[in-house]
Subunit: 273 residues, 2 copies
């Protein structure tokens, strides 16, 4: 299994603390050695760092760890491949443009027999199920709404329906963002917490590092952190129910809905995750 | 004026030497302080590093300088904006996907009144003329060839025709690559050289750094370096004729053609470059 990390905030915030613990799972405290990546939105722009090396040893991860990039939407991924080669083109997150905005997607799971017709609007560059699912999601949004981005509520409803479709093919935990909001789908494993005033200390599970957020925040800051498994051992992480899609914006939950899938087809096959 | 740097090789090669000199022009030996970026293809994958900070001071440039990423196609850009804000979304190179491959584009110049209808296949995220030209180029290729990538010769002919169109609107020096080959258009300023056996020493213009390529190459290596201005002071750089498009592949020139534009519309306006 891969692991996901997301952050959605009301003010630009650095992810150095969470990334310190998350990164360790890529070859140090856990087995996700098959590449990693992280995307930061800054305004409409996006920075995407990808490395097929394990995050625990990656010089690029060292840079991200030491260089506090402030962002309101971040998506990171560490990979444990069991099928599909370890290569740059198969490294998450993936990026495409839709409606004049960058969209970022990272996936944890196994999609079996997911081979929908792609009309060429968005085609995978690598050969993971994950990138195929991302291309299909964007293609479906384009087909449904044409050239005009829909209101956020309509977008969320469409994602609910499309995610149900994908979910029929297997595990599909994912994080998706266009820089304005972040969508998190829990197929079977995803947790989150919201840090807001009064801020307190937090201690990482994977590294002996403590931060007192009261020292580095203002009272109005609000930060949602979403992760496959809790990153700290002294905070209350909320386990998301299987089959649920969550809409985060400005560091809070705006809406959520069920994505109860049909029966999962076939047995487990790890590819993109 | 911005500056461009490209590299096209027959074997994966690091660009550390050339980047050392190029980077210095972003705030140290020259005035291109308004952000920089570099894209490396590795197989079908692409790594894109972007920073709106000056390259001479950027921690990300320091990483790229110290971390030898080996690639057969590299495109880099340092920006001197005179119109258009300094921001991540306006930082070159730009990336989009076409026919299941990443395409990378960087531009040096000024396009005036270039506002072609974009049908939504590719839309700019920022507000530079450069990204608009890139979106229009890819849209035009998609319209012309549909879902199937054409043979390279047909692609080159199409790029010649499309570049003539863009060139009618002003200066349009650009580098474009899909990871297989690199196209370089000289509107008014672009030089190149090819390093191949017998290799010899080279000394940078912008930094007192010398490399003896005989020490770090094999006899079969072949590297084309394309730059707005020569990067070394003891090698023979070839000045490309204005209005010419060049096709580089495996470290050599495969073809070139004229892009004699019509009369340039209006006066000079710097935006994306």
């Amino acid at each position: 299994m891969c692991q996901l990390l997301g952050m959605n905030c009301n003010v630009p915030t650095d992810i150095c603390f969470s990334f310190t613990g998350f990164r360790a799972r890529g070859g140090l405290t856990d087995v996700h050695r098959d590449g990693w990546g992280i995307a930061f939105f800054e305004g409409r722009g996006a920075r995407l760092f990808l490395d097929p090396q394990p995050s625990a040893q990656s010089p690029i991860a060292e840079l991200v760890h030491n260089y506090p990039i402030r962002s309101r939407n971040v998506i990171a991924h560490i990979r444990k491949a069991t099928q599909g080669q370890v290569s740059l083109e198969n490294t998450h997150p993936f990026m495409r443009e839709l409606w004049g905005r960058h969209w970022i997607f990272a996936h944890n799971g196994n999609l079996l027999d997911f081979d929908p017709p792609l009309d060429g609007l968005y085609l995978p560059v690598g050969n993971t199920d994950s990138e195929r699912a991302f291309c299909w999601l964007l293609q479906s949004l384009r087909r449904r709404f044409g050239q005009t981005p829909p209101p956020p509520e309509a977008l969320f409803q469409a994602l609910l329906e499309l995610t149900r479709e994908v979910g029929r093919h297997g595990e599909c935990n994912y994080l998706l963002s266009n820089g304005e909001r972040l969508f998190a789908h829990c197929s079977n494993q995803l947790t989150y917490l919201i840090r807001q005033a009064p801020f307190r200390k937090a201690h990482l599970k994977d590294q002996d590092v403590t931060v007192d957020f009261a020292d580095i925040t203002t009272p109005d800051d609000r930060v949602a952190v979403i992760a496959t498994q809790p990153l700290t051992d002294d905070e209350h992480w909320i386990t998301l129910p299987p089959g649920s899609l969550w809409w985060f914006e400005n560091g809070q939950v705006i809406s959520h809905g069920e994505t109860v899938p049909g029966p999962v087809k076939g047995a487990c096959r790890q590819n993109g995750g």
